[in-house]
Every structure is written in C-alpha cells, then in structure tokens.
Amino acid sequence: MSSSTPPRLAHWLLEHCIAGPRRESLVGDMLEQYQRGRSATWYWRQTVSTIAIGFTDEIWQHKTLAACVTLLSLYLPDLYMFSKLGLWVARFDQLWYRPLINTRWHWVVTDPWAYRLKPYLWTSEIAWCAILAVLSWILGRLYPRQTGLVVTLLLITQVGQRLPYLRSATEDWIRDPGNPIWLFGLLWFSAITFVAIPGSILLAGAAGGRRGIGLRFWRQITDNL
C-alpha cells in the first residue's frame, strides 16, 4: 500500500530530467498509476527507466550533436594545454606564488607537508571550472531545446576524465591512512570532481538554456551536418 504522494526525489527527477512536449502527460500518468496503488519502488523504477530511455532516445535523435559535444569535451584538456589560456593561468600563478616566499606565508611553498597539497594547482582548477561553465553556457544558448542532452554529456565526460585522479588519490590514502595529507587530497579531488565541476556545468548550462534564443543560422548549419 502506498501513500498518496510519490517519492519526492523521484518525482523531482521526473519533472526536471524529462524533456519534450509530452512531459506533463507522462508525469500525470505516473501520478495516476501511483494513486491507483503502485508502490514507491515501482515509481522509482519507472522514473529511472524513463529518464534513461529518454536520454538514449535524445542521443539517437541528435547523433551528430551528441558526437560533437562528446569529442569537444574529451579533447578540451588538450585544447586548454595547447592554447595560450594555460600559459596565462601559469603566469597568474607565478604572480602570487613566487612572492609568497618572502612573506610569513612562505611555509605554503617551502614546507614539504604543505607543498604536497599542490596549492599552485588551485588557480588552474578554478580556471578549468570557469572554462567548463562558459562552454556549458554557450552550448545551452546555442541548443536551448537540447540543453539537457549537451549538459549531461559534458558532465559525464568531464567527471569520467577525473576518475583516474580520484582513484590515485584514494590509493594514496589507503596506502597511508594515518597521514591526513592523503585524506585532504582525496577530499579535495572529490570536491572538485563531484561538486565544483558538475556545479559549474549544470548552473551555467541551465542559465544558458533558459536565456537561450538559439542562433538560428548556426543551428541550421549544424542540424544539416
């Protein structure tokens, strides 16, 4: 026997992760079935399968766009490395990092314990999140009807590329669990991978998609690819 309100998280996911003109009717059908006595497990199963089926169908309908976004996301680190942007970030790092040696904060650079936290990487992580946010916003604006698809693909490929780093951070921590530096490293990588990167992509993508007017000319070109 189920209560009259469906599982909140499942219902939220259903309302926010399904695109297309039939969304209202589909959610209404699910609610009707639930009111007729279907279980919370059934509701969750239907939600997950509906989202997964909708996503794969969206990929199938926009194969070229999906392939382009995936490739762009996979090769984005290489583009970043070979562009001047990486150089500018490195120069910015030197601006604050080198003068630090002559201050009372010199231990951040000189102390071997603190050095292992790689503080010089922080700027590039922030810059990387900003690049992802800009890319996600642009894609959301260009493809307001497919924002969910492009943002999800960007998210999956970016988080997927971070997983090897997370794995090595976990291995370091397992090897020497008594040392808090490894735990900090693991928490740091986890925060970047599961909070900062997804947050930048999702928020910027949603903002771009909502405001998106779409550049008709650009869409005509890419739709005909």
Partner: protein
Amino acid sequence: MAKREFLGGFELLVLLALIRVGDEAYGVPISDAIEESSGREVAIGSVYITLDRLQVKGLVSSRLGEPTAARGGRAKTYFRITAAGLRQVRQARRTLIRLWDGVPQFEGGPA
C-alpha cells in the same frame, strides 16, 4: 521495389494496444493493456517515445485532454490510430502469418 519501413516489435504492441483500448487511449490504459497481455512491466517512458515515433510516421494522431486534479492538474494526451496505422498493422499481421506458416517447430501444438 519501393522502400517500406517495417514496424518494430514494440511499435506493433503499442498499435495493437491502441486499437484494443479505443477512443479513450492514453498512456495508462495503453501500458496496462501491454502489461496484461505480455505479463511484463512496461516503462511508460518507452510507450511515449514509441507513440511519438509513430506519430512522426503518421500512424498515430494525438489530442490533449482536460487537466484533472487526480493527476496533479496535468492533462492526458489521447492517442488514436490513423488509417495508415491500421494498414501497417494489417500488413504486419499478413507478413507474420506467412512467416509463421509451415515452420516445423511451431506445428503440432506448443513445443
């Protein structure tokens, strides 16, 4: 020879359920009809995606109903099979019967 698209297995199931349910066919009774006859749970999402595809092919038409409180103020989308859809179902039936006939594994009752 003219190129003709075959109906997929699930597309045929949805069209048959649509014919069975009749004028009041929307997501819930369609998926119920498929579940009852197949004995398997059906994802409502897959029913809608199939109906959308069939509508693009011109085999199904749809209209929006009135929103109801029981559905959280959400309207039903009613579906109806078109004449082209009926022709495709009849064609699929003929093809299946022809293929079925004379298959030794299916003769003399269930295996």
